[in-house]
């Protein structure tokens, strides 16, 4: 059963992710070395990667928003796991980055849990088809760096949108 605070907690989690996303991205770029920081537009262009579509807005149905959010954060959770693993291997000295990645992953995981609860409780949705991104395993170090960069950049863009969309739907009525 969902606790009564789940809704508020979910809103807060999204707000936390939204508040920390840009810093995480900037720190990620800094830790990858040049020219990631100076040419992030070119290097981190997410055009070539898969990222779940988030085609909902404030006027969308709440259920639709919840499903889209679930797909988004399920994808993000997996991607953040890949990025964290890659950075632990590639960049074990970047303690702050790893800590932020861990924290973000934890929040995402909690968010997924809350969304699962809300979907079950409110809409009786027990299964959502989720598509995950490509695994970075076996790719070159540069490709790993680039893929993480692309995902995080897209994440920064989408999390802001998610926060805006989610606000009216999760606000205490």
């Amino acid at each position: 059963m969902c606790r009564s605070t789940v809704q508020e907690q979910t809103r807060r989690q999204v707000a936390v992710l939204n508040a920390t996303a840009q810093e995480l991205f900037s720190l990620y770029l800094k830790c990858q070395g040049e020219p990631f920081s100076s040419e992030s537009d070119k290097l981190c262009n997410p055009a070539g990667i898969f990222f779940p579509a988030f085609r909902v807005n404030r006027t969308s149905e709440r259920k639709e928003v919840m499903v889209a959010m679930y797909k988004l954060f399920a994808f993000l959770n997996a991607s953040l796991g890949n990025i964290t693993r890659d950075q632990e291997e590639l960049n074990p000295m970047a303690k702050e980055l790893l800590e932020r990645l861990h924290n973000t992953t934890k929040t995402t995981r909690g968010l997924i849990s809350n969304l699962t609860c809300l979907l079950c409780k409110n809409y009786n949705i027990f299964q959502v088809d989720v598509r995950y991104g490509d695994s970075s395993k076996g790719k070159s170090a540069f490709k790993k760096k680039q893929q993480g960069c692309q995902v995080l950049r897209k994440y920064v863009q989408v999390i802001g949108q998610a926060a805006r969309v989610l606000l009216p739907h999760l606000s205490p009525s």
Binding site: E34, M93, S140
Partner: protein, 1088 residues
């Protein structure tokens, strides 16, 4: 050398002919078959070939050969023009018969030296690329089975690159043939990634058959084997090499492989752009020299294309450093823990990090070490092997760049570093002993353990107690601690090490606290008693026992009073009182005091109340020691049981608390110390002697712990003042303000007006300061003598102790006026003046004839006038002009003063003309001023204003109106003809002050000075030399012809009175003598 090409061609043809002759020797007539050549590839058989003419080029050929004349000829038919026959030992005779020819048979003799040896072309078995390391591995067979054993083989390998097959390198590989086919292998590392472009490899060989007499040559090149680059693959793109790990300082080549239709815009290594070189239409490369260590995430190499980018990451680091300070020890005989310092960081992390392994050489056991690169905790565990004490460890270190190792031979029984003792507990507690128990994890059955117990408390110094216990397997150990203090809170902790071969202590265990139980006080309190002032009761004092003596919390003191064995009184006094009063009346008793705590009572302390009377008790002074008070006394043989020094601490309004100290009977001095003693405070001590009957007061002593300067100055007043003395009186300083034993007073005085800003006398540095040191403390007054009357004096009085001077007390006193002296000071000058006046009058009266003759003759003759001859005399006169001395003549008219003062002193300021003022230097340094003569001004008898004659001289410009005396006497001066006189005469009328100066200096004048003198203004009209001649009644003055003596009074010259009276006066029977009246004597100013 060779002039034309035809000559070169001819020479080449000749060489070819010669070569054909050497390779085979044709027998018979020239024609087909011909040019028989034999080549061997294996030194066993040779392949012979020949040429045939076109006529015999088809059909079978009979080929026969024989190696000597004794062996039968071997013949066979062949359709080819090549046969393989064995290599003869010396030569072979070959007969070739071609069918269908006119000259069917040809015979050749082939010697061994005519046979060429060319090894068979090598065959590359495999060419394998290793892209991460850009290494090629080449394998081929040496084909050694066909050659005799031991031949040297040289293999030339050629590496080519790019589509154009540019030779990159060519190396020669050496091997020895073993009569077996051996697969040879050779590696080559490319400086360019193999992915960047295609690489080709060719090989050929040369076998050095020393026994073979014929010519030898390299084999043909093998066909080239190729490793195609990524630029040959359709769709192949990227930056290569991928994720290489290289050593710092390496030179690196990166290439960017892209599609045919793409263009590379630039390539960067880190943030720096590099110049590209084209390898192929699809591949460009950059070269990075001397790569520096990269950060932990590696250095990015990026290739920017027109519509995208590719990249790679290079990790540049160091090969692992040799591990330093490798050390192994066992904490429990179950595992051996080895630690080391890694040295220089490799700069490589993650899967590229440095990896460690611990290898034990004798057992062959190897352990991989998990080292936390981030925490820099470099340690590795190795299991203890059964029945093995000595271990020969090799610590291996490796990373993708290199490897290193360090070794250590260790006996673990000598490297025991036990784990921290656990579960420390205290059991068996009593007042002086406890038992400690602790547990150590480990199997120490083979050794003894040395454990150290730290005993600490707030009251005592830390103690370490060592116990040696036999080691056991994961067991509890115990230790008994005794000689502890009762009622004391202790902290205990334990650490252990190996007893026999000490290596290291374990860490300290967690500390445990335990308080020992109480015990009765160790001794009775130190006691003293005093009779109350009324004598009716006795006050008993005791000192608290020290913490080490109380053995617990003192609850009460029991005071008993015994007369013989009879208890007169018993009192229980609870803490914190340290005295009690017992009403005894006039009787005496023995007082007993015991201290009690919860564990029991102390032994009793006893003292008698009897006080033996004493007489002649003196009071002495003690010596301050800074940290105590030194008290000394004479030895009293009667005092058999020692001495007691008693004193009293007074703090503010509370009654003073009694304190005392006991000394053995052989003591005669002691330094009394107390935390309550304060510097500058007087303490009173009483010295008691102890006899068997009682205590006797021997003497009183006062003293300071440290003497300080008196706090205040003594108050003093001026009791009496006269014109030359002051009587001063002062008061005593209160004892509490003395702050030391008073040693005396300092009375200082000096002249001085009252001024608030004035410093203290002692600090003023006044040279007239006088100081009187009064050491007689009974003296309370002092008369200061020899002072000046009506003068202000500053007086200061200070008291002093051994600690220093008190602040001063100041007074200002003005002495009275000395009236008698004043009267005398007035009367004496008046009397002198009167006397002089009388003497002058007498003189003038007695010499009146002479004066008349000299100054007022009946018929004055200017030619013979002595008075007017001074102009000459002034030049001839005495050069050492002297101050005009006081004589009867002086007051008449002229006063000439020779002064040495720096500044000119002019007595009669009204005589000074403006011109004179301008010529006198302000600083007075001018030497001319040193002999300055001041000419007094005599009172005018007749005043006449005469305008100044026209002249350019400075004196002429003066505003002062002078009397024209010079014009009247000019005819008298000229006949003398003296140059000096000329100077004077041409000077015209000058101010008189300037005149006198010039007159004195005229002897030493230079022409320039003379010229100056001419313009110097007014000159004296008298001969100043004659002034020295003194009085008119001197011997010289009697001769009328004496030039010096002819001068009367200079006053007549300088006065405004005409020496020659005007015509009106010539008729007068008597010279006008008013200028010499006594009233004019005192008149030295002109009548305005």
């Amino acid at each position: 050398m060779w002039k034309n090409s035809s000559l070169r061609c001819l020479l080449a043809l000749a060489v070819l002919c010669l070569r054909s002759l050497t390779s085979s020797q044709e027998i018979g007539s020239l024609g087909d078959p011909q040019n028989l050549k034999c080549v061997t590839h294996n030194l066993h058989k040779m392949l012979c070939t020949w040429d045939v003419s076109s006529r015999g080029s088809h059909g079978q050929t009979d080929f026969c050969y024989t190696t000597n004349e004794f062996t039968p000829q071997v013949c066979f038919k062949t359709e080819e023009r090549r046969v393989e026959i064995p290599i003869p030992e010396n030569f072979v005779t070959v007969t070739i018969k071609s069918s269908g020819t006119a000259f069917p048979t040809k015979e050749f003799v082939i010697h061994q030296k005519d046979i060429s040896f060319v090894p068979v072309t090598p065959h590359i078995l495999s060419l394998m690329p290793d892209f991460p390391t850009s290494t090629l591995n080449l394998k081929w067979s040496d084909n050694g089975s066909v050659f005799p054993y031991g031949l040297d083989a040289l293999w030339q390998i050629q590496i080519l690159r790019k589509e154009a097959m540019e030779i990159v390198t060519q190396v020669t590989y050496y091997s020895k043939l073993t009569h077996e086919d051996i697969i040879l292998s050779w590696n080559w590392t490319s400086d360019m990634p193999l992915e960047c472009t295609s690489h080709y490899v060719k090989i050929r060989c040369y076998i050095n058959a020393t026994q073979f007499v014929g010519p030898q040559d390299w084999s043909d090149w093998s066909p080239a084997e190729v490793i195609p680059g990524k630029d040959t693959e359709p769709g192949g793109s990227g930056v290569f090499p991928l994720d290489p790990v290289v050593a710092v300082g390496s030179d690196l080549t990166f290439c960017c492989v892209h599609e045919e239709d793409q263009r590379v815009t630039n390539m960067t290594y880190g943030s720096k752009s590099y110049t590209m070189m084209q390898l192929s239409s699809r591949s460009h490369a950059i070269r990075v020299l001397n790569a520096s260590v990269s950060n932990s995430s590696g250095t990015n190499v990026v290739c920017r294309l027109e519509n995208g980018l590719e990249g790679s990451v290079v990790f540049v680091g160091y090969a692992p450093d040799t591990p330093q300070n490798l050390s192994c020890e066992t904490p429990n005989f179950l595992i051996i823990k080895c630690t080391w310092k890694p040295g220089r960081p490799s700069g490589l992390y993650g899967k590229r990090r440095t990896k460690y392994s611990l290898f034990e050489r004798t057992s062959g056991k190897n352990v991989s070490c998990e080292v936390n690169e981030v925490n820099r905790d470099h340690a590795c565990g190795f299991p203890v092997l059964p029945d093995k004490k000595t271990y020969d460890f090799i610590l291996g270190v490796s990373n993708p760049i290199g490897q290193a190792q360090s070794s250590l031979l260790v006996d673990i029984t000598q490297r025991v570093h036990p784990k921290t003792p656990e579960k420390l507990t205290v059991t068996g507690n009593n007042s002086t002993s406890i038992q400690l128990r602790w547990f150590i994890d480990g199997s120490f059955a083979e050794i003894r353990l040395l454990c150290q117990i730290e005993i600490s408390s707030s009251r005592f110094e830390r103690k370490l107690h060592n116990v040696s216990v036999p080691g056991r397997k994961s067991s509890t150990y115990t230790a008994q601690l005794s000689a502890l203090h009762p009622d004391t809170k202790y902290q205990f902790r334990v650490r252990c090490s190996a007893a026999d071969h000490f290596w290291r202590w374990s860490d300290w265990s967690r500390a445990v606290e335990q308080t020992t139980s109480e015990a009765p006080p160790a001794r009775g309190p130190d006691i003293w008693r005093e009779r109350s002032p009324s004598g009716e009761s006795l006050i008993v004092f005791w000192k608290p026992l020290s913490l080490s003596e109380t053995n617990g919390k003192i609850v009460s003191h029991e005071v008993s009073c015994y007369l013989l064995e009879t208890l007169l009184e018993h009192k229980v006094v609870f803490e914190p009182s340290n005295s009690t009063e017992i009403k005894l009346g006039k009787s005496d008793c023995v007082i007993s005091v015991v201290a009690r705590n919860h564990a029991g009572s102390s032994p009793p302390s006893r003292i008698t109340s009897v006080e033996i009377p004493s007489d002649n008790v003196t009071t002495d002074q003690a010596v301050a020691m800074g940290n105590g008070i030194n008290i000394s006394w004479d030895s009293y043989p009667n005092m058999t049981c020692g001495y007691i020094v008693k004193w009293c601490h007074s703090s503010g309004s509370e009654p003073c608390s009694v304190d005392w100290q006991k000394f053995p009977s052989n003591t005669t001095n002691a330094v009394i110390k107390s935390a309550l003693f304060k510097p500058g405070v007087r303490y009173n001590f009483s010295l008691y002697g102890c006899k068997s009957m009682g205590y006797q007061l021997l003497k009183n002593i006062t003293g300071y712990m440290k003497e300080l300067p008196p706090k205040t100055a003594p108050n003093f007043i001026v009791e009496e003042t006269s014109s030359d003395s002051i009587l001063v009186k002062w008061d005593d300083i209160p004892i509490e303000e003395c702050r030391g034993f008073l040693k005396g007073y300092l009375l200082s005085f000096a002249k001085g007006e009252k001024d608030a800003l004035k410093p203290r006398l002692s600090e003023s540095g006044n040279p007239e300061l006088k100081v009187n040191n009064i050491t007689d403390l009974t003296k309370k007054s002092m008369k200061i003598l020899d002072l000046q009357g009506k003068t202000s004096y500053q007086l200061e009085l200070q008291a002093y102790t051994a600690g220093g001077l008190s602040p001063p007390n100041s007074l200002y006193v003005v002495t009275k006026e000395d009236s008698v002296g004043l009267i005398i000071a007035i009367l004496i000058p008046v009397a002198v003046v009167v006397l002089l006046g009388v003497l002058a009058s007498i003189f003038c009266y007695r010499k009146r004839e002479w004066i008349k003759e000299t100054f007022y003759p009946e018929i004055p003759n200017p030619e013979n006038s002595k008075a007017l001859q001074f102009q000459r005399n002034i030049c001839e006169g005495n050069k050492t002009l002297k101050t005009l001395e006081m004589n009867p003549c002086t007051p008449n008219s002229v006063e000439v003063v020779e002064t040495q003062s720096a500044a000119p002193k002019i007595e009669d300021t009204e005589m000074m003309s403006p011109a004179a003022e301008t010529t006198v230097p302000e600083d007075g340094s001018d030497s001319e001023m040193e002999n300055h003569v001041v000419v007094s001004y005599c009172p005018p008898i007749i005043e006449e204003e005469i305008s100044n004659p026209p002249t350019d001289e400075p004196g002429g410009s003066s505003q002062v109106v002078y009397i024209d005396i010079q014009s009247m006497y000019q005819p008298q001066i000229k006949p003398d003809g003296e140059p000096e006189i000329d100077i004077v005469t041409t000077a015209g009328y000058k101010p008189q002050m300037q005149l006198s100066i010039s007159a004195l200096k005229i002897e030493g004048h230079s022409p320039v000075e003379e010229e100056l003198d001419k313009t110097a203004g007014y000159r004296p009209q008298a001969n100043t030399n004659t002034w020295n001649m003194g009085t008119p009644d001197s011997p010289g003055s009697a001769e009328s012809n004496n030039e010096n003596a002819s001068f009367g009074s200079p006053c007549s010259i300088n006065s405004r009175q005409f020496l020659l009276p005007p015509k009106d006066d010539e008729d007068s029977p008597k010279p006008i003598n008013t200028g010499w009246s006594f009233t004019h004597f005192f008149q030295n100013k002109p009548n305005d």
